[in-house]
Subunit: 628 residues, 2 copies
């Protein structure tokens, strides 16, 4: 059930319990609203009925939705499995079992399960590996089964998944067809399912898929073979490229395969690509993917902010990769990336009421977006405000499964003790040296910087409790420990408390949440001469709703000579208004604009992830600096 090797080991679902605060609210929103919203939509648009009709034989060419809508049902099942957890009782568990029944009924004799292919009037199985997404859908089914198994239930969906995985081993294994699928996902899923079922053949098939990639097995398409990472072998790349979600899912699977096969070179190759991607191809929110057209990473430093694609699913994929590299290396840096990406990129997607989502996440909205209709599906990335559902609706269910399992990213264990990577209100427990170590974390993070750790249950032997100290806090973080004979040291991004702890032991870690001015690398032309403001782990945004009437986000500059004050969730900044005169031709000189000498404007910046929750607006993450 655990990775074969690695510096850190994940905790099981029951070992981390969210007890309140920021993440509790989000997980309640997910359980009470988002999951039900997604369920209502997959029913409404006929994507669930596809399974029923496959089962009763009435499904033909009139399949509802595009090729890979099965996967939305599977991601929803995964979200529900995490949310149900170990208990398996109550209304959600009943709903879950009903859904699994409907899915299971569509499985064919040989284990194949896909509603878009293989029936009269449909295309043949595996006739379109480039775009058909069969293996992608299978992957999400296996992931849903993993969530169920890790929650302690080896019941119907894991059985369906085993039959499917066994079918795949025959169909695509060493003696089967030499092929890969156009959208990676099966790799990470087979590796995780192999772990969860202790079946090496599944992990070996994941490795086979990873190694086959990059040899041109997929036919060329308009976006080039790099679109699905089939242009070069996984281990020979220098930086992530092509379709961002595909690249990140594949990377996650490659790390898993590397870990399981003791293939350190593969893990190092992916880590190098990911590190280069963070350095040169990532938005300040942690969002990845610069292109709308092919949903791809661009060149190094090609990061247009008003045309940022930054797909929600890519952010989730980045968290998946960071998490695996964190487990493998123990480097605090990956905890930083998870924090940044979860709080700023993933959480930007759901609307505050949980009933609409961003698919792509712009960092600069120049015109007030119009809200899409609440009762119809939207094109995947066209809406400038959050939409209830999409024709390609990968993001809402991906948000649902990520929120339902977010607490699993909070803490890990090692032989020495526990590591706390994210902050909130939760307990984490692990067996250390055969005894229980349980800690309680309490904080109003990410809005307040005090994190209190209390030991609840302690082993009799010395342990190490490590708390990640984010890179932005390292210089100013302070702490105090309540407990005798403990060693406390900050290094490599962790504050480590070492010694014999007891139920009296407490730690207060104070992280500075003073707003910070963030200057971008000059290679990022698109935000040259601009700065962003961060407060703690949150990237802030200026939304037009917070400006006085008649002032818009496109005609202000930030005055860095004035102090920036902290607000409960953001920052208060001083702006100078530009006088904009329209010129017939916008390349006629700098004289088009003057910074107004009039009174300064004081405005509040809010967390970027919370923008577009108060009606149509314009928004900027980066603000031009006022010329002196």
């Amino acid at each position: 059930m655990e990775p074969r090797s690695g510096t850190l080991t994940p905790l099981a679902p029951g070992e981390v319990r969210v007890t309140g605060g920021f993440w509790h609210d989000l997980q309640r929103l997910n359980a009470s609203t988002i999951i039900g919203h997604c369920l209502a939509w997959v029913e409404r648009v006929g994507w669930l009925a596809n399974f029923d009709r496959a089962a009763d034989g009435s499904l033909e060419a009139d399949h509802a939705g595009i090729e890979f809508v099965d996967s939305e049902v599977y991601k929803l099942l995964e979200a529900m499995a995490w949310e149900i957890g170990t208990d398996d009782e109550g209304e959600l568990a009943d709903t879950y079992r009903d859904l699994v029944n409907r899915v299971a009924a569509a499985q064919e004799e040989d284990g194949y399960l896909h509603t878009f292919f293989g029936r009269p009037g449909q295309r043949a199985r595996f006739s379109d590996l480039e775009w058909g997404h069969e293996l992608y859908c299978f992957g999400h089914l296996l992931q849903a089964a993993v969530a169920r198994l890790r929650s302690g239930h080896d019941d119907q969906l894991p059985a369906v998944a085993r039959r499917l995985a066994d079918f795949l081993v025959v169909e695509f294994g060493e003696t089967g067809r030499t092929a890969v699928g156009g959208h990676p996902e099966i790799e990470v899923a087979l590796a995780e399912f192999g772990r969860a079922t202790d079946t090496r053949t599944y992990i070996d098939l994941a490795a086979t898929f990873v190694e086959r990639r990059g040899h041109g097995l997929l036919a060329p398409i308009e976006h080039g073979q790099e679109y699905f990472q089939d242009d070069q072998p996984v281990r020979s790349g220098a930086v992530l490229h092509g379709h961002a979600v595909r690249a990140l899912y594949l990377s996650a699977g490659a790390v898993d395969v590397g870990v399981e096969h003791d293939d350190e070179a593969l893990v190092e190759a992916v880590e190098g690509q990911y590190v280069a991607t963070l350095a040169r191809r990532t938005y300040v929110t942690g969002g990845m993917g610069s292109h709308h057209r092919d949903e791809a990473f661009g060149d190094d430093f090609e990061l247009p902010h008003d045309r940022a694609y930054a797909e929600t699913c890519a952010a989730i994929g980045s968290v998946m990769v960071s998490w695996r590299l964190l487990l493998h290396s123990g480097k605090a840096r990956y905890g930083d990336v998870i924090e940044r990406t979860l709080l700023n990129a993933v959480l930007a997607s759901p609307r505050r009421d949980g009933k609409a989502f961003f698919y792509s996440n712009t960092l600069h909205q120049r015109t007030p977006g119009l809200p899409p209709a609440e009762d119809s599906t939207s094109p995947r990335a066209q809406s400038s405000m959050r939409a209830p559902w999409f024709e390609v609706s990968c993001c809402p269910t991906n948000v649902a499964r990520t929120l339902a399992s977010a607490h699993l990213y909070f803490a890990t264990r090692s032989d020495a003790g526990l590591q706390i990577h994210q902050f909130g209100d939760f307990t984490a427990t692990a067996e250390v040296g055969g005894e229980e170590l349980t800690v309680q974390i309490a904080s109003a993070y990410p809005f307040e910087g005090d994190v209190v750790l209390k030991v609840i249950a302690a082993p009799s032997s010395p342990v190490e409790i490590a708390l990640r100290v984010p890179a932005w806090a390292e210089a100013e973080a302070t702490w105090s420990v309540n407990g005798d004979g403990l060693t406390v040291a900050l290094g490599d991004g962790y504050l480590r408390v070492t010694g014999i702890v007891s139920a009296d032991t407490g730690l207060l870690l104070s992280l500075p949440l003073t707003p910070r001015v963030v200057s971008p690398d000059p290679h990022i032309d698109d935000v040259r001469g601009q700065v962003a403001i961060e407060r703690g782990p949150l990237v802030l945004a200026l939304e037009s709703i917070d400006l006085p009437d008649g002032v818009d986000t496109e005609s202000v500059e930030i005055d860095l000579s004035s102090p920036i004050e902290s607000t409960p969730t953001g920052a208060r900044v001083t702006l100078r208004r530009r006088t904009d005169r329209e010129l017939p031709w916008p390349y006629d000189g700098a004289s088009t604009t003057d910074t107004d000498a009039g009174p300064a404007i004081v405005a509040d910046m809010i967390p970027y992830a919370r923008w577009a929750n108060r009606g149509p607006s314009t928004m900027r993450v980066f603000l031009p600096t006022a010329r002196p």
Copy 2:
């Protein structure tokens, strides 16, 4: 044959003759290479054979190419017709007649002519008005016929076009189906064909199509109804929006309709939209269209340079609109736009050898592009270097027809005399007051700024000869006149010589070609803190090939405190090299980069339109300015 009203009147093809120099070279390249290249490709990929197979009844679902490849043949016929001109003899004329025969043979009894629709195995006629492009293809057929008619030949293609246009009047006229096509083109084509054949019903049908647009007759698509300008009536828009080529072709047709129907409000509406587009949605090259995904204009000032789409066909569409507004209003400004757009945006497309083309035209290439294979088609906008042919290959044939007819944009006439709008080596002639006025223009423009005008034939009455003085030259232009009793005055963008001229009359207009530093409007975030360099009408570019080994375009800043010198075709600038240190996270502060204190780099900038002719390279139009 001429617009019903307007300040200026176009000259006929025979009335402007290119005699040498820059445009002569380009038109020879077109005649000797580009036209033949396109012809070889439409044959090779089976797009011509579609017509043969339509004629012999063997064409079914196995049509070669996408829905609108007929149009490439028609644009090629248009290019050939302009190139053949009045003579109609020689090899090209024979080839032309053979091609027309093959096209004509595919016309059906009722006048319909399209190879993609209506046959067994094909979809029904007009069953996909959103994407089918039938009306678009018809439009290009009519345009090809217009070129033939305006060149003095009312032969087979005009006859085919008449049958097709008559079919359309029945099918789509007031008593036919209330519909429009997804891609405008039929509007401008019917208006021009109506003029060329003096048939008001064609012009009326053009007007009907223009007026029907914007009422949601087209079904919604992923990119929204604004993609094909069906979201609001043409006359109610404030700025061009949606798919750039569609918007510009439609605008050209709407101006034609407005002029022909004395509908000044319609012309004014389109002019207002176009003026706003120039002010806020146009690249410095004159290129239009910021989005790759939907090939659309973005929001105001959304102009990413590394992701510039700036489709070649949109530039051609912009020239078409500018030309119509120039004729209507006589405003020199539209001559400026034609100059900028032709020289920098349209001419960027063909490779110097005429055998490869840019489809989209980036203004910032961050990585050396790899040349596409010379013997295969490319995806439309994926190649970073020019490609020989595209799957959607609208640009090469569009370049061919534009080059073949470019001289028609050079001069106009009015009751008072002649107007010279573009410079080169050519003669222009017009009847003024019943007598001939002919002038000869000689220059080494756009590389040298002296333009010599000589009167060749003069009427006995006073005339006015006007030369456009580009806005960038107005303050420093000088001139001298050889001739008695003439009034010379500069105003409204024209140098006007008025009086009785004779064959002795000469004028020397000297335009300053000193390189100019161009600062962008601060609303264009993507080039904040950067400048472009222009020399005369040419936008310059820094290409990596012109930098010393080990220096790349991404790590230099321009030193504006050093003088910028003129070179024969561009400018020599002084650059400072930045020391770039890679940071793990590119939002950690301004300290990533220092301007090198070492020796300055002196480098030549070349005309933007000529970049990517010397092998893979990186390129920038805008350069960051060195910090003091």
